[in-house]
């Protein structure tokens, strides 16, 4: 493994800025790593080495021309295939969009380019971001670098696996029910769901519009904060984007202390069935926070246990509408157009063939929840639960600065284990969903290995626009644990055998 591939994003940015290496060299090192390990990991759907090298050269040229570039200029990034890119296909992991070349860049894609990040490829994901294992991708299985027989989490599993496998120091993701935090937790890296509206959804293929939140993956908290700052901020093309400055996340990640903070442990989560190993690491992390000077209290959020059912009404409802546009008329797959069938028939055939089982399930569920006669009992009630969850958070944040929980109830499960059991799969998001419903910020940072030797994540939830607070606490935990471990958790991951090129 090339030494450059092991560096943090901040280090790479500094080395390139100092002229000690170049964006081109860094890109090549990562392309080599991808060539060596991605056959086993399967993180990427699309990598075009020529395009990557051209991007890297362009960054080097911009710098040579004297352009003032940000701290991540020249750093490679793995981009979730849910963001539109003009120079690479964009499929959202679905057959229905196979080969689609968008005529426009997502706002976040534009911002990455402007900051000089080098988009090294598009990462695999659960189809339209629906899933917790990336097994719902129409294209390929992605494997957890800690154990190739296990899932890398989902839906942003390609991104988490790429970062954990040192194929890129940074990656983008989107979080709708936990799709950044859960994959980060099960691959032993950092994943942040910013405040809803803090990062633009323009050019993000929609899953559930009122929940979707793009955010960063990295191997450490500071790198995540640097990417967060680069990709976030107000976007006039997204009506739900917040017109306020990005919270000072980088400063908070550098500060890394918990002095004077009150940390709340959600009472209701304790009894909701985490694995023993997960619970043990979480309990230790809480004790650690206390030893670092935080005051720890128990808080009650009685409606959090209703968040999961509410989510599985709201998200599918929005899905049923958001995915209607995949109708074989203007782009993407068209099936059965033999000159005799009607548009309606062609739509139905195309959608039946182009969508996978989970997507169809959620479309049907959402259509049901919104249909006349059921709207009030399902969608209407779920929206009321959303209000109650918000109120629980409001009450909690009057008493505490952050709330903590394990990110996900179990460590990475074996590929195939839950594929035929949707309800079991949905439980992976039990503890991440409340922050999606309420729109507040939440980060997952590694907090150790469970008895099975697999990573456990600590979730730190902060109020709306309190993103910096999540980073501050996350960085404090990271610093203390790395001191204890003598390095990052990921150093404990087994070496991926580098296949011969």
């Amino acid at each position: 493994m090339n030494e450059l591939v092991g560096r943090t994003a901040a280090e790479l940015g500094a080395l390139i800025a100092a002229g000690e290496t170049s964006a081109a060299e860094v890109a090549d090192a990562h392309l080599d790593r991808i060539a060596a390990v991605d056959g086993a990991v399967g993180a990427f759907l699309h990598v075009d080495p020529d395009n990557v090298r051209a991007q890297a050269r362009a960054v080097d040229e911009r710098r040579a021309a004297g352009e003032e570039l940000g701290p991540l200029a020249g750093v490679p990034i793995a981009h979730k295939d849910v963001f539109t890119t003009t120079d690479m296909p964009t499929t959202a992991g679905s057959k229905i969009l196979e080969g689609w070349r968008p005529p426009y860049d997502a706002t976040i894609t534009e911002r990455l380019r402007a900051a000089g990040l080098v988009i090294i490829g598009k990462t695999n994901m659960d189809e339209f971001a629906m899933g917790s294992s990336t097994e719902n991708s129409a294209y390929q299985v992605t494997r957890n670098p800690w154990d190739l027989a296990r899932i890398p989490g989902g839906s942003s599993g390609g991104s988490s696996a790429a970062v954990a496998a040192y194929e890129a120091p940074l990656a983008t993701g989107t979080d709708t029910g936990g799709s950044i935090r859960q994959p980060a937790a099960v691959t032993g890296i950092v994943g942040m769901k910013p405040t809803y509206g803090g990062s633009s959804r323009y050019g993000v293929i929609a899953f559930a519009s009122s929940l979707d939140t793009p955010g960063p993956f990295a191997r450490n908290v500071l790198d995540a904060a640097l990417l967060h700052e680069t990709m976030s901020g107000h976007d006039p093309r997204d009506s739900t984007s917040i017109d306020r400055p990005v919270p000072p996340v980088v400063e908070a990640a550098r500060r890394a202390d918990v002095a004077g903070l009150t940390v709340g442990v959600v009472k209701e989560f304790a009894g909701s069935g985490g694995d023993d190993g997960v619970t043990a690491r979480f309990t230790e992390a809480v004790a650690l926070l206390e030893s670092l000077g935080a005051k720890v209290v128990e808080v009650s959020c009685p409606h959090f246990t209703y968040a999961l059912p509410a989510y599985y009404i709201i998200a599918p409802s929005e899905v049923s509408s958001n995915l209607a546009r995949f109708d074989a008329m203007r782009y993407g797959l068209r099936v059965g157009d033999d000159g005799t069938r009607s548009a309606e028939e062609v739509m139905a055939l195309t959608r039946a063939e182009g969508f996978g089982a989970e997507v169809k399930r959620r479309i049907m569920l959402g259509t049901y929840a919104l249909s006349s006669g059921y709207y009030d009992a399902y969608y209407g009630k779920a929206q009321q639960v959303r209000t109650l969850v918000n109120r629980d958070f409001d009450a909690a944040f009057e008493r505490v600065d952050v709330l903590v929980s394990p990110t996900t109830p179990s460590t990475a499960f074996p590929i195939g284990e839950r594929a035929d059991d949707p309800m079991a799969m949905y439980l992976a998001d039990l503890w991440t969903i409340p922050s999606d419903l309420a729109g507040n910020a939440a980060i997952s940072v590694p907090c150790g290995l469970a008895d099975d030797g697999l990573p456990v994540g600590l979730q730190i939830m902060a109020p709306v626009l309190g993103d910096d607070r999540a980073y501050r606490v996350g960085a404090a935990v990271e610093r203390a644990l790395e001191d204890r471990w003598g390095g990052p958790l990921l150093a404990k991951a087994p070496d991926l055998a580098e296949a011969a090129r």
Partner: protein, 500 residues
């Protein structure tokens, strides 16, 4: 199925009372679309005014055009509506090829404007049409049906879709059921759409051109037996796209429904299509499966909460509305009800008013537009406003008449020249040599010649039959090819014949 007998209109009305409902869609004339920056020009090449947003490409998001919201609030205020303090867009979900997202961004149970009314006049009687709601939505693309015999949707082999129109801001205005119109129902429907069109045009928020589809009308009709308390089943006739068609569609639907009821049949709640050629409606989609639009609040757009200050500002800036304006000009120009109606129906109100603004007196301005220019518009088969002459030009011609430089006959020639593209009135007058001859020398010679040529008539005048001088004046006018000052010619004739 036996064909129901068609009942005559009078027979239908003797037995049944019609209840009307009108849903009108108006495309706003904003520069850019409702939720994106694409142009809204009518008649552009296909798919040249589209972008990721109005094509519904994956990942794209809508952002509301502020001018469209101002436009609908102005319409709401002009229709005497309340502007709500808080409301949301909703998604109306149904699959259709010309709708890029397969849902329409619309409003459902939270329209922006509610509870208004519009007064319309039919044959001297005023009807108050109550407005239930005015809401904001987006237009769809347009399909061209290829193959089959008719070019219509049925029997076509395939269709070609142009999304230029998709996403143009659309305001939907929905009336409450209109009752008590009796046999005037078709006229009330037409008067309502006419008045609405005038109103929206006066507000300047749309060009409301029915022939281009920027004003479209759906007409709901039901019948109930006279004296009944309960309304009958209604039908909705879609895409009635001219004022005349609105009237005809209501009338034909009344006759058809009466025929069905008279034959002991039942009215089916359905969508019907109006055919311009026959003036009748035919059944549209069968509603075997009721539509379920699965409305829910649009998550990509945030709620609208128009501030009271903004609404008050818009209210204060409303222009004079058509009804008030008609009352004012009627008084100012001294018109009878009938004269006013003629002016309005001729579409001459703006033209006359602008001509007056340009300096003409009211009587002359009305006279030129309603007589000479109306005659020419009719001959050319165009609207008055489409004639290639401006109110300023009309006012200039009239100024020359008032100054005695032209008489009416010469003025008509001047109009003819302007309409023929010969230039400004002064240029036409100069080029055509149009000039009243009042110079005694030139006129005197013509008069002498006329007297000599018409000795018998001249003798009668000399003999005291002064009325006979008219024939001589006419002869002078003819000899001068209309350019003589008729008054001066008469004075000269009488003087020369010694009877003055």
């Amino acid at each position: 199925m036996s064909a129901p007998t068609v009942t005559t209109y009078d027979a239908a009305l003797a037995k049944y009372e019609p209840v009307l409902g009108l849903e009108t869609h108006i495309e706003l004339g904003t520069a850019s679309k409702m939720f994106c920056g694409c142009r809204t020009d009518f008649g552009a090449d296909p798919n040249t005014q589209v972008c990721p947003v109005c094509l519904g490409l994956p990942g794209s998001l809508p952002v509301t055009n502020r001018a469209a919201i101002e436009g609908i609030i102005k319409i709401g205020l002009a229709l005497n509506c309340d502007i709500v303090e808080w409301c949301r867009f909703a998604r109306k979900n149904y699959f259709y090829p010309d709708m890029p997202k397969d849902y329409q961004i619309s409003q459902y149970d939270e329209p922006l404007c509610v509870d208004g009314y519009l007064e319309v006049e039919v044959e001297g009687e005023t009807y108050r049409v109550e407005i239930e709601r005015v809401h904001m939505e987006e237009d769809t693309g347009k399909s061209l049906h290829v193959g089959g015999s008719t070019g219509r949707i049925h029997g076509a082999d395939y269709s070609l879709v142009d999304y230029n129109r998709a996403g143009i801001p659309l305001v939907e205005i929905v009336t409450r059921p209109i009752t008590g119109t009796g046999d005037k129902a078709p006229l009330v429907a037409r008067a309502y759409v006419t008045e609405l069109r005038e109103l929206v045009r006066a507000l300047g928020v749309s060009d409301v051109r029915m022939e281009q589809g920027s004003l479209r009308c759906d007409v709901n009709v039901s019948l109930m037996p006279r004296g009944a308390a309960e309304w009958g089943t209604r039908t909705e006739t879609k895409n009635v796209n001219s004022l005349r068609s609105v009237e005809r569609a209501v009338r034909s639907e009344i006759e058809r429904q009466a025929g069905v009821l008279d034959a002991g049949g039942k009215i089916v709640q359905e969508t019907r299509h109006f055919h311009e050629d026959t003036g009748t409606t035919t059944s549209g989609r069968s509603k075997e499966e009721a539509q379920d639009y699965r409305y829910f609040p649009e998550p990509d757009l945030v709620p609208m909460a128009p501030s009271r200050e903004w609404v008050d500002e818009l209210r204060a800036a409303l222009p004079e509305l058509p009804a008030a304006r008609r009352r004012r000009v009627q008084a100012e120009w001294g018109l009878s009800d009938l004269e006013l109606r003629d002016v309005v129906n001729a579409g001459a109100l703006d033209l006359i008013e602008e001509t007056i603004t340009a300096g003409a007196d009211a009587g002359a301005a009305r006279k030129w537009w309603m007589n000479e220019l109306s005659r020419r518009a009719t001959a050319l088969g165009v609207e008055l406003a489409e004639l290639p002459i401006t109110p300023v030009q009309v006012a200039r011609v009239q100024a020359m008449v008032a100054a005695g430089e032209l008489n009416d006959k010469l003025a008509r020639q001047a109009f003819e020249g302007v309409l023929a593209g010969e230039g400004e009135p002064d240029e036409v007058v100069a080029a055509r040599g149009l000039k009243v001859v009042s110079d005694d020398g030139a006129l005197g010679a013509i008069v002498d010649q006329v007297i000599a040529d018409n000795a018998a008539v001249a003798d009668k005048v000399r003999g005291g039959k002064v009325a006979a001088a008219g024939a001589l004046v006419g002869a002078v006018m003819k000899a001068s090819r209309g350019q003589a000052d008729a008054g001066r010619a008469r004075a000269l004739i009488l003087e020369k014949l010694g009877v003055s």
